[in-house]
Symmetry: C2
Subunit: 327 residues, 2 copies
């Protein structure tokens, strides 16, 4: 392997001079520059980032922690993150927790031992242990998808967007709206979206019925099961709001298999927009959280922190409602 010493020797300068030239700080004579460039060309020398990092305490690498890679929402966010990182000459170290909370904490540690310059966490909870770990991290950690205490984070407009959607359903005449959610250890998706559903029904003086609510674990299968649970009950709803698109797909499958027509027998709305949702029959009415933009936005906040801005910022991302024919 070629090192800076080899280059120095071949170019007849000291390695300090080579380093100065490579990093474009300090003066290097024209002649020296040319000799160095020539030698670098010939040897196709590449500076060792390990050595560089050890000295400078910077790696140019950002760690990204996400629940699951092969999900459309996540891959879009990653796409946005990646764009922004590439613009800023950062590389991305990707880790996946498979929704295991312990791994979130473990990865924050591991990423630090890898000397990443910062961490982007796609949040699934705001447990105290996690908050503590983020606090004591000695690199900036930013969070997308949860309002993480004392941490720079971007939330999705879980409450408002859900209120708007439920209201929209009510205005379209649906009165018996059921709800498929996730457990409450996820404050954003589990608590806020459910609260929005309940609050909106109350506002319209409608009863909140336990049997109209069921909960899944983000998977397609769990959406199927939740829909089944709801429909097995004697008093059936005429609409359903599903908090994530994956579970909505499962719910749709259950309804199709059991010959309920959407929207004739039961209206459906959800959150998250699929690349294919335009082509599904029926086209789902959904809330688009614009994940790619969110990925860009959270990365921008991290870049700010890396540039010395050290106040905690809290943002809420935008959204738009996409109308289909499932209502």
């Amino acid at each position: 392997m070629t090192t800076i010493n080899d280059i120095a020797k071949l170019a007849n300068v000291s390695r300090s001079t080579v380093s100065r030239h490579l990093n474009k700080n300090g003066y290097v004579s024209q002649e020296a520059q040319e000799r160095i460039d020539k030698v670098i060309q010939e040897t196709s020398y590449l500076p060792s980032q390990s050595a560089k990092s050890l000295r400078t305490k910077k790696t140019g690498v950002i760690g990204v922690i996400l629940p699951k890679i092969s999900t459309e929402t996540a891959s879009r966010v990653v796409d946005g993150i990646n764009q922004m990182l590439q613009e800023n000459d950062y590389q991305m170290l990707l880790t996946q927790t498979s929704l295991d909370k312990d791994k979130e904490i473990a990865f924050i540690k591991l990423l630090q031992s890898r000397n990443v310059d910062g961490v982007i966490l796609l949040g699934t909870n705001t447990d105290e242990a996690l908050v503590n770990e983020i606090q004591k991290a000695d690199v900036p950690v930013v969070v997308l998808g949860q309002n993480m205490p004392s941490t720079t984070s971007i939330s999705y407009p879980d409450y408002n967007a859900t209120v708007e959607m439920i209201t929209y359903m009510l205005e379209n005449g649906y009165r018996d709206i059921s709800f498929i959610g996730v457990p409450e250890d996820d404050p954003a998706v589990g608590i806020l979206r459910k609260k929005a559903y309940i609050d909106t029904l109350k506002k319209y003086n409608l009863p909140i019925l336990e049997e109209r609510m069921a909960f899944g674990d983000f998977s397609i299968e769990s959406g199927y099961d939740a829909m089944q649970t709801i429909m097995m009950h004697s008093s059936q709803p005429n609409a359903v709001f599903v908090v994530t698109d994956n579970m909505a797909v499962g719910a749709m499958q259950y309804l199709k298999e059991n010959h309920y027509s959407i929207p004739k027998d039961i209206g459906m709305a959800t959150t998250g927009v699929s690349r294919l949702s335009k082509y599904i029959e029926p086209v789902l009415t959904t809330i688009d959280f614009q994940n790619e933009d969110a990925g860009i936005a959270i990365t921008r906040l991290l870049m700010e922190k890396l540039n010395g801005y050290n106040k905690t910022k809290k943002l809420t991302h935008t959204y738009r409602r996409l109308s289909g024919n499932s209502l």
Copy 2:
């Protein structure tokens, strides 16, 4: 930041001993071990990977180069890669070329300067410049999706699977089958799948018509355009085979918009299985290349190389045909 020196001092041993204990090589007395563990606990010490890498020339990081992250095929492959890497305690550095060939070469260099232990490339071409770069890399590079010269690689069964699908279409009575492909600088998708289409028609003594073929660039839009090009021609086909699912979605959109019914007016088959394809109407008949398994398999080959196996291996991945109602 806590370093090995701090630990050594606090535990009253030399840093050699701490190192020996951490890496579990060489003897360390029970007492010393306990003192060290205690101090590590208290300080929540994490060894610097940069320093470690500089010494050992190993980083425990694998570089992954892919054309585009937010594509279902890619994210499934990444999922498989990630599973296998996690089992082997490796981390993943992810890069995206956006289908820019120069970036493939640039990333191979960049990843090396980051001292990755190996590289997995999702191949889009087998250009000489790329082959050379792979050859002269001083870490193992393995390739998925192309039969890369002189390189350990796993190909998809592009030719055979396509022959089988076209044959299946012919056996189902379709005679005027059109084809949507990609340019020939992609040997696997561009050349082999097209050749399979042509060879199979020839075998059935059917004419090969230029106007029955159109080409896109993997995007949904290009599939739309290609389908349009074909349908604008006076002699219309009664079926189409599209080489990728993304382009198939575009082609479907064109057909729907122009009130062609699938499969009544025109049958369709493609490659690649979408999470949602079961729920699209019609359900697409498709070839499933089982991308997650492919990701696992290519990572396994890389692990073998990392363990000293240095022969070049060439594998072809499996596939299965999924029948829908689009034919």
